[in-house]
Symmetry: C2
Subunit: 274 residues, 2 copies
Amino acid sequence: MTRQELINLIYERRSFLCVGLDVDKKKMPEHLRDAEDGVFLFNKAIIDATIDYTVAYKPNLAFYEAMGIEGLVQLKKTMDYLHGLGKPVFTIADAKRGDIGNTSQQYAKAFLDPEGDFNFDALTIAPYMGADSVQPFTVYEGKWVILLALTSNKGAFDFQFLPVDGEKKLFEQVLETSQQWGNPDNMMYVVGATKADMLTQVRAIVPNSFLLVPGVGAQGGSLKEVCKYGLTNECGLLVNSSRGIIYASNGTDFAERAGEEARKLQQQMAAVLK
Amino acid sequence: MTRQELINLIYERRSFLCVGLDVDKKKMPEHLRDAEDGVFLFNKAIIDATIDYTVAYKPNLAFYEAMGIEGLVQLKKTMDYLHGLGKPVFTIADAKRGDIGNTSQQYAKAFLDPEGDFNFDALTIAPYMGADSVQPFTVYEGKWVILLALTSNKGAFDFQFLPVDGEKKLFEQVLETSQQWGNPDNMMYVVGATKADMLTQVRAIVPNSFLLVPGVGAQGGSLKEVCKYGLTNECGLLVNSSRGIIYASNGTDFAERAGEEARKLQQQMAAVLK
C-alpha cells in the first residue's frame, strides 16, 4: 500500500487505528482455546467486528511463534483472510527483525514478498545493526520499514535516551541517520505513546513521516496527547491498541466488545481528523 | 547446556567451532533443491560430516522464515535430529529478537522452552529496547541469551561506535549495562570478528563471558587474531563459520567438503586450546 493509498484510507474510514493482534491463548475466550483453528477464528471474529473502524492490523510475531509452527499456520490463515476481505487494510508484521545485509534480505522476503506466505505491507525493524540491516526492506514496491526509534517500555531508558555525540539522544540519532536509508514513502517509525511530549522532538526531525504509536490503552498512552504533538496535515499517525480491544471481554461477546472499543477510539480519531 | 558442560564439550572435542546453518536453496546442491525435505537432508548431511569438529550449530532464522512455514518445518526436523543425535552439541537460534517484556517472554517460549517446537540452548537478542526486553530470556535453566554487542557488518558503524555519555562507545555501554541483566552463566555476546582488535576493549568489560564471534571466513575475520585477543583460560569463545563450511562445494560432495573445512578450523582451534 502506497503512502497516498494509506492516507486516503485513513480519511475514508476516518480512523488511524491499528489493532494489535497479539493473541495469547490464555487470554482468549475459553470456547476457542482448544478449538481447531481457534486462533484464526478469534482473529477473524475480531477483524469482522473492527474492520470498519480500523486502517491497520498488527500481529506481533512473538505470540504466534510461541505456539510453534502451528501458530504460524494460524497467522497465515489470518493474513489470507485479510487479503481476501475485499476491504483495503494496512498490515504490519511486528517482528522487530534486523540482521546483516544478505540476511535481512531473507527476512524481507519472508514478510514482504507478495509471493510469500504472509505478504505484509510493513515490518518493524530494530536499528542497532545500522544501514545494511535496514535497507533490504525498502526495495519492495509499496512496502514499508517501520524502524524502532523510541519504544514504550521501561528498558527504553537503558540506551535510547543516552546522549550520543554530545547533545543528541540515541533515538534522535536513529531518526536522523535513518533518513539516508529511506524516505516518508517507505519508512515509518515506532514512537512509544507513553512519552507523548517526546513527540515534539521526534517531529522536529521527521516532520512528514508516519509514526506507529503503540501503547494507547494498556500501556498508558493518551490519544489526545499523541494527536496534539504527532498529527500532521496528512495525519501521519497510526495509533495501535492491542489488549484494550482484543481482550475487552473474554466471554462469548469478545468480538462485539472489541468492536465497541475500536469504535470508541475511531470516534475520537474522526473528531481529530476533521 | 550449562557453562561448565559447554566448557567440557569444548575441551573434549578440542574445538570451539560453531557451524552456521544458513541454508539458502539457491546455494544448495542441485539434487537437493527440489527434493522433499531437501533443506533438512542438506542440514543432516552437514551435521553428520561436521559434528566431530563442532561444538555448536547456529541456524539463522531468516533463511528458514524466507521459505515460509515449510522452512520452519525443515528447521524443526533439523533440531529434532540434533536432539536425537546422542552427541552433545550447543544450539543457537540466530534470531536477533527483542521486544517489550511480556512479548519477549513469548519469544523465549518460542525458542528456549523444552516443550516447544525447537528447544534451542541459546538465542541471539538485539539490545536496543533494554533490560525488560532481554531479561525474559534468562529465566530458563541452562539456557542462554546471546546479546548483540558489536556486529560484523558495515552498518555497525552507524550506531555501535557512537560515543555515549562522553568517552564510552555504545557497544561498550551495552556490554556494561547488560551485566545487570545476566551473568557469564546465562549471557554471551556477539562480537564481530572483523574487528579483532576491538576484542581487547570487549574483554576489558566482560573478561569471563563467552563471545560468539561470527564472520571467520566469508566475512573476513581471522581466527588467529580472534584467539589472540578473545581467548580466556576457559576458552570463552564460540567462533562461527557459515558459508565457508556449508557451501564449500555445491556438488554431491558438499558434505565431505564441509567436513574437511570444519576439520581444518578444528585443527587450528585444537592447537590454540593446548
